[in-house]
């Protein structure tokens, strides 16, 4: 079934927080950069999928979200 929009938004926020914590994702706060943010977030999703050996799609699919929800260590996987 199509995902309920609020759930989708919730997952997006969760993923953004995860990528900020563990993949050094920095979101431009200015809404003018929305497209740029989405591209940057897709890059970070690709980086995370590659780290965990998932299919690298850049999309926040079910498997990727599942992996993000696993209990884990609080130290980033990559760092600047």
């Amino acid at each position: 079934f199509p995902v309920v929009p609020e759930k989708e938004e919730e997952d997006m926020q969760f993923a953004k927080k995860y990528l900020e914590n563990f993949y050094d994702f920095k979101e431009e706060k200015n809404s003018l950069f929305k497209a740029k943010n989405l591209n940057r977030m897709a890059d970070k999703i690709r980086e995370m999928q590659s780290f965990f050996g998932l299919e690298v799609t850049g999309e926040l699919n079910h498997k990727t979200l599942d992996m993000m929800k696993q209990p884990r260590c609080g130290i980033p996987d990559v760092r600047s």
Binding site: N21, F52, Q70, P71, R72, C73, G74, I75, P76, R79
Partner: protein, 366 residues
């Protein structure tokens, strides 16, 4: 494996750790054992040696906290982030924080996180390792419940930590030969009918049920007491063995360390001038325990749990023929055995007279 940027590492082999507080989810002794075993994992494959400090600031400080806990990385409640640790450096460097909102356990069940496994991972960070993307590696970021009995460090983690610190020195200190005529002991005690002989991190185990002497490391019985003892004695009626190291003592019953230990030896009645004891032996008949320090000895009444009046006394004044310090002491077969260097002195308990002198390892059927 990976390391942190610029690969920070401890510039020494002797690293200290302290436990700031405990989780209410587990017995303190189980927390200490899990932490000690986690350190052993790393010391077994590197030249690193870890010593626990019971007060003051250690290199690696371990604590449990929930939510915001004073650093920039607040915990997030149950699940999600379980713990984090900082790479080697001064101050917060090396410290490991565990999320108290998790359920910590010494088992590998599904309604809690195994503290030994999570601590072993976090201490990898405390020593300078980053995350590994090798599935199954200890430094893999995601928690994986696995059997912790005889848990062995995966090769990727060994490669990572040895890239930072090198391998175990080729000449690991080896146990002296049983029949080495110069063999000496740190401490000796009976335990449930057996006799345990301690030296460094090793223990020789003589059992009335088997003819051979068994060889073990102390850590295989009491992981958090791995570095060895100055003295030990058994109060058999209480199924209790007391171990001494420097100015502290522990009570154990079998493999379990009783809660609330270690305690300062001053609790037994020693003056603060006594910073360690050489040997101890309990006389099961009189319920008195003798403590040997230098050329003097104390008598402790196990019933009243207090030192007897009129002590300390000179050893030589009461035990004829024992004109030197005592490294270790044992009561067996109605005699005392006082060990000094590679000799032992068999003493009649009643009249405290010397009967004969033997080699310290005469118990090993040499």
């Amino acid at each position: 494996y990976s390391t942190f940027p610029q690969s920070p590492r401890w510039k020494k082999e002797d690293v200290t750790y302290g436990i700031l507080n405990y989780t209410p989810d587990m017995l303190q002794a189980d927390v200490e054992e899990a932490i000690a075993k986690a350190f052993q994992l790393w010391s077994s494959v590197t030249p690193l040696r870890f010593t626990r400090l019971y007060s003051g600031q250690a290199d690696i400080m371990i604590s449990f906290a929930a939510g915001f806990h004073g650093d920039f990385y607040s915990f997030d409640g149950p699940g999600g982030t379980l713990a984090h640790a900082y790479p080697p450096s001064s101050g917060i460097g090396g410290d490991a924080h565990f999320d108290e909102d998790e359920n910590w356990t010494k088992f590998t069940t599904y309604n809690g996180y195994n503290l030994f496994l999570v601590a072993a991972h976090e201490l990898g960070h405390s020593l300078g390792l980053g995350h590994s993307n090798v599935f199954g590696a200890l430094m893999y970021p995601i928690y994986m419940a696995r059997d912790t009995k005889d848990y062995r460090l995966p090769q990727d983690d060994i490669d990572g930590i040895q890239a930072l610190y090198g391998a175990t020195p080729s000449k690991t200190p080896t146990r002296p030969e049983d029949c080495d005529p110069h063999l000496t002991f740190d401490a000796i005690t009976t335990l449930r009918g057996e006799i345990l002989f301690f030296k460094g991190s090793y223990v020789w185990r003589k059992s009335p049920y088997f003819s051979d002497i068994e060889h073990d490391t102390i850590s295989s019985f009491w992981p958090s007491l791995a570095s060895g003892f100055d003295a030990a004695y058994e109060v058999d009626k209480k199924d209790r063995v007391i171990f001494f190291k420097d100015d502290q003592y522990w009570a154990v019953s079998g493999y379990s360390i009783e809660p609330g230990f270690p305690k300062p030896i001053q609790n037994l009645g020693f003056p603060t001038s006594v910073r360690k004891i050489d040997a101890a032996v309990h006389d099961q008949n009189t319920k008195k325990t003798y403590f040997f320090v230098g050329n003097k000895y104390w008598s402790y009444n196990e019933n009243t749990q207090s030192m007897e009046r009129g002590y300390p006394r000179k050893i030589a004044a009461d035990f004829q023929g024992i004109d030197h310090t005592v490294d270790a002491a044992l009561q067996k077969n109605g005699h005392f055995y006082f060990f000094h260097g590679s000799n032992q002195y068999e003493v009649d308990i009643k009249n405290k007279k010397l009967i004969r002198i033997m080699k310290s390892n005469s118990w090993f059927n040499c």
